[in-house]
Amino acid sequence: MSASHLVAESVWKTIESTHSVNEEQLSVLHFLFGKNFERATRIVDQRGVKKIIGEPSGRSILQVVGESRRKEEYLCFGENYCACYSFFYDIINRGEQLCCKHQLAARLAESLGACVEVKVSDEQLAVLLSEL
């Protein structure tokens, strides 16, 4: 794991344990992730992160609203995946950036407990995931 990744993980875990974030933590995350983090905080402030939870299994996926006027929704698996093109081209293809803004918004919202939770049946979740 890179040093940036380890520092970020340490900050995320502290935020998760307190469900709150202070100026210093915001500053570190902004330093690590740049403008993407700024955009992520705006998405979280606008309650743009939805956690869709399948019942009874508990498997979940996050849905994050984009910043464009069209308000597209992107499915995210936290730090492992986002459906947006930025994730594919910048992160997978070019190895640049650590996370896209939607992944950052998803992580921030989860850590703060600020996701809008939506419960669906496991069958409905399976259909949603198959359309990834």
Partner: protein, 198 residues
Amino acid sequence: MVERFFFTKPGDSNLQEADSITLLSGPPSCGKTSLLFQFAINSASRYIDDGDDEGIKKYFAAFHLNDTFPATVIVDDFGDFFDERSCQKRYGNPRGRDLALVRTLALCHNAIIHANKRGPCKLLLSDTNHGDSPRSLFIYKRWIPTIFTVKGDGSGTFRLKYNNYPGNGSSDSTRIAKYSIAFQYLFLEGITEEGDER
């Protein structure tokens, strides 16, 4: 690490140490399917070797619907599930195949991580490569912490090696299994440490 692809005694603790997701990569006709079968015999497994990428996506999308999870899911020739032309057409993008690969691997990873909350559940993929490394290594490495590669020496003998990529935290020495294939059987010739081979 390489031992788990060959005959082991029941309850061998080596099998318990496997990472959740593993890739086995090697050239054509180097015994990958035989290695997978041997791995499957060593654990209660579900074996998938036919279909397209949509089928695999549906399987892992619905994975949480299982009452019980298999100890291991094995997918033979994972790369073959992704047809270049149909992926390009579906996504309207010349990198359509890579896009499909990314989405499916992310789904597999999510499914296996979820299953592991209830008990051990591993995913083993195989992929055929025609050079030194899997074609889509830069994509595989994002989700697969353990990658085994097979190389042949041209005389019917192959070497199965565990590859330690930066960031996966492993610092153990690398063991190499040397094997040959005769009459569709695998013959393990020996297991050596990487340093001993030089």
